[in-house]
Each structure stands twice: as structure tokens, then as C-alpha cells.
């Protein structure tokens, strides 16, 4: 059988097969998949993989895409260095 080796999550190096296996094990909530596989936890924060995973979930659970909630968005929107975030001096410190 042809294996589903297409990469779904580039940051965490997950294939379609990894996702399908987890769904078949019973992890059918997108948040559960994130926590089981670290899906969408890399630098892009799920921008690439989440839409693909929703489609895979639709295929395997029969749920409409609109009924598959997106995971919570977390700040910062893009990665920011600790140096940038800490450079702002408070008045009392200066």
C-alpha cells in the first residue's frame, strides 16, 4: 500500500500518515492532535498545517470543516526575541 508520506507540519516534521494514525487511535480533537503530536507548535504556529489537518479530520470523521474549531491563537503572532521584548526600560528603572 502506498504510504502517505506527504509532510503536513513542516516545523515539527509530521507526515499525513502520522496525523491519520493519531486520528485512528482516537485523537479526533484538533487540540488533542496538537498535544499528542506537537502539531502546529513550531515557529509558524500552525499557519501551514492546521488547514490541512482540518481537511484530514473532515475526511476521517465526516465532520464539516466549519464544525472543526481552530485551535486557540497564541501571541506573539510572529516569533520575537527575548532581547526585543525586554529592552523597554521602565521609568523607575532608568
Amino acid at each position: 500500500m502506498k504510504k502517505r508520506k506527504a509532510i503536513v507540519c513542516r516545523c515539527e516534521d509530521l507526515t499525513e500518515e502520522d496525523v491519520v494514525e493519531a486520528i485512528e487511535e482516537g485523537y479526533t480533537d484538533i487540540e488533542e492532535l496538537r498535544k499528542k503530536l506537537r502539531l502546529g507548535m513550531g515557529p509558524c504556529q500552525g499557519r501551514v498545517c492546521i488547514q490541512i489537518v482540518r481537511k484530514i479530520l473532515q475526511k476521517y470523521t465526516g465532520k464539516e470543516i466549519s464544525k472543526i474549531p481552530l485551535p486557540t491563537s497564541r501571541p506573539p503572532t510572529i516569533p520575537i526575541s527575548l532581547g526585543t521584548l525586554s529592552c523597554d526600560k521602565d521609568e523607575k528603572e532608568s
Binding site: 480533537d29 498535544k35 499528542k36 506573539p76 516569533p79 526575541s81 527575548l82 521584548l85
Partner: protein, 382 residues
């Protein structure tokens, strides 16, 4: 779905799932309800640390015994829970801290824990990226057998193991009522319609435990306290131990995958607010780069919030509620539910299935808040 069971567990976090596993090992019929998904509460937001360095004897004992269980858990559950022992380094900032540290270390050693007081120059031998001056540290305590495990994988592994032994785990299902007759639990109502009969109900719903107990007039003193936490991008392995300071409240460590994860307390007002704040990120990045200036080049990927289920003495509430038979508390972990879970759930399962008494259950019972003298846990971070 089963209609009659021995035990209903409310809450699919680390403690609920671990308890389900223990009880089904003892051939009890167990059903677990989780209103969202497994690990959706505090377990899923937690910093993954496992610490044995405490100021109260009960917590130290519970933690030492829990680590012994964690050490064998991957094998027992036949899943890798990513347990590793890189230690915990607890900063000491002044003479007052030092006195408390000496007292703690003496008590911890009396219980058989290997823990040492490090000199300032020994701190960077353990964690090379720390700046002892920036930390303002005059020393540190270090316990090499403290460590980490993956809270998600541990919870999922417990749930799978419990299901294999016959437990039923229902996610996205709410317990909407608890039924009591003559001060004895007789069952629960789920999703406002179905009734499941059971003589025992375990309240392991984390910050929602108070709401659950209120349904049958039991008043828990727990309060939800928002906690914020960050994760950085992945780095090559730099250090293995968790660095914490009770004075600054900071804790941070490098996870197995390479991210540095940590937090610092800011919120003082209890409540169910979940929005991450800029004040936190400013305070956290300033303190973290003070402890380790080299980290200023490292990027933050994610910032999220979770809740500590906090009790007045920062210790959990465990065991049967005095006024209602069969109502078991397993909550109020005040930020330490993951690390204490192996032993807590073992003791509770022995009480539930064999009525085996335990000093820890007596000392941490809900009725302790009726007395005025409370033994506070002082070693709290985050």
C-alpha cells in the same frame, strides 16, 4: 455508555486519568467524564516539572514517592512519557532564604532525598548559561533526581491503559448534577439527561472542582489563579535542570524537544481570565534575560495562560468529604498537580477500593480549613 459503575471520575486531567488507571487495575468499574478534551485544563498548560524540594513534609514525601513511580511509568504504561531527571536548581538570594533552604534541606534529607546546597560558583557548573550576579544569588539548592515528564503523553498513556482494563472515558461530556440521598452519593447526571449510578464520585476537575462541589452544597476554598507561560524556539540541548526562584517566582527549563519553557507570577486576583498579558511578557523577558543574558538572542514562539487551582495553604484537598459519603476530593493542587499525581492517585485508589486509611489523606482533608492553624507550603513558584 455504562449505566451503573463503582466510581465516577469528573475531570480528564492528569489526576483523573491516573486514578482511572489505578482503580481499573483493582478491577473496579470506572467511568470518567471530561467536559472538553483530555488535558484541556491545567494539565495541558503546565510547565512539566517534577520537584521533590518542598518545605512541608507531606509534599516532600508525596513527591519523593511520586518520582519513584515516574521512574518506572513509561515501562508500566508501555508508552514513552519522556521522563528525565536533570534536577531542579533553587536559587538562594539572601540570608533569610539561606536559613529556610537549610531548614528545608535538613527535612528533605531526613526523608532520604539527595539534595545539596551549592556555592555561587557551582551554579554555572550545573547550568552554564546562568549569570549568578544577574540572578543575585548567594547559592542554590540542587536535587539531581528532580526532573520533567511530558504531561500530555502521560495523561494520554494513563487514559489508554485505563481503557484497556475496562474503564470508560468520555470526553466532551459534562456532569451537570450529582445525586445525593441521605448524605450518600448515589450517582451523577450527565449532559442534563442521562443518569449514571455510582456510590463514589471523584472530583478531580481542577479549577472547576469548586463549581462541581457547589452542586451538592460542599464549599471548597479553591480559587482559580491565572498563570502565564512562554515557550521559545527550539535550541540544541544546553541544560537539563529546571531553574527556579521562590523570591522572583520565576521557573524555566529546557524541554526535551529543545524549547525553553517558563513562567513568572503576576496575577494576584483570582478569576477565570484567560487572556495573555503584555505586562507578563515584559516582566518575564526582563527577568529571564537577567538570569541568563545570552537568551536575549532567543525568540519566543508562544505565550499562553492556564490556571492554578489554589487553596489557602497551597496544598491539595484530598479524600472523602466529611459531610457527604462517597464524595472524594482530588483537587486544589495549587500548581503542582502533575508532579504529585502518581502518589496522590495511588493513595486515593487504595482508599476508594480498600478503605485503606492514610495519614496524608487525614492531613489534607477538606476539614483542615475549619481549624485556624494551617501549615503553609512556602516553596511555591510560578
Amino acid at each position: 455508555m455504562k449505566k451503573k459503575v463503582d466510581v465516577v471520575i469528573i475531570g480528564g486531567g492528569i489526576n483523573g486519568c491516573s486514578l482511572a488507571n489505578h482503580l481499573s487495575k483493582k478491577n473496579m468499574d470506572v467511568i470518567l467524564f471530561e467536559k472538553n478534551y483530555l488535558t484541556s485544563g491545567a494539565t495541558g498548560s503546565c510547565g512539566a516539572g517534577i520537584r521533590q524540594q518542598w518545605s512541608t513534609k507531606e509534599n516532600t514525601k508525596l513527591a519523593i514517592d511520586s518520582v519513584k513511580i515516574f521512574e518506572k511509568l513509561s515501562k508500566e504504561l508501555d508508552r514513552d512519557i519522556e521522563f528525565r531527571q536533570g534536577g531542579y536548581l533553587v536559587a538562594i538570594h539572601d540570608e533569610k532564604d539561606m536559613k529556610q533552604a537549610e531548614k528545608n534541606v535538613e527535612m528533605q534529607r531526613s526523608l532520604g532525598l539527595k539534595v545539596d546546597i551549592l556555592k555561587p560558583e557551582e551554579i554555572t557548573e550545573v547550568v552554564p548559561i546562568l549569570d549568578v550576579k544577574g540572578m543575585d544569588a548567594i547559592g542554590a539548592t540542587f536535587c539531581p533526581t528532580d526532573g520533567h515528564a511530558n504531561p500530555f503523553l502521560t495523561t494520554f498513556a494513563y487514559a489508554t491503559a485505563a481503557e484497556k482494563k475496562g474503564a470508560e472515558i468520555n470526553t466532551h461530556t459534562s456532569v451537570t448534577d450529582i445525586i445525593v440521598k441521605n448524605k450518600q452519593i448515589t450517582g451523577v447526571k450527565i449532559n442534563d439527561k442521562d443518569i449514571i449510578k455510582a456510590d463514589t464520585v471523584v472530583n478531580s476537575a481542577g479549577v472547576w472542582s469548586k463549581e462541581i462541589a457547589k452542586k451538592i452544597g460542599v464549599n471548597l476554598p479553591n480559587e482559580p489563579l491565572r498563570k502565564e507561560i512562554i515557550a521559545t524556539e527550539r535550541l540544541k540541548p544546553i541544560f537539563e535542570c529546571m531553574v527556579i526562584s521562590f523570591k522572583d517566582g520565576i521557573y524555566f527549563s529546557q524541554q526535551k524537544e529543545g524549547h525553553i519553557v517558563g513562567g513568572i507570577p503576576l496575577e494576584k486576583k483570582p478569576g477565570f481570565r484567560t487572556i495573555p498579558t503584555f505586562d507578563f511578557i515584559k516582566h518575564m523577558s526582563k527577568t529571564l534575560t537577567r538570569y541568563s543574558p545570552v537568551l536575549k538572542h532567543v525568540k519566543i514562539l508562544r505565550h499562553w495562560t492556564g490556571f492554578y487551582d489554589v487553596t489557602p495553604d497551597a496544598r491539595p484537598i484530598l479524600g472523602e468529604t466529611p459531610e457527604i459519603k462517597g464524595f472524594i476530593q482530588c483537587n486544589g493542587f495549587s500548581g503542582h498537580g502533575f508532579m504529585l499525581s502518581p502518589m496522590v492517585t495511588k493513595i486515593l485508589s487504595e482508599y476508594i477500593s480498600d478503605k485503606k486509611p492514610n495519614d496524608i489523606l487525614d492531613n489534607l482533608n477538606l476539614n483542615r480549613f475549619k481549624d485556624k492553624k494551617i501549615d503553609y507550603e512556602k516553596s511555591v513558584v510560578g
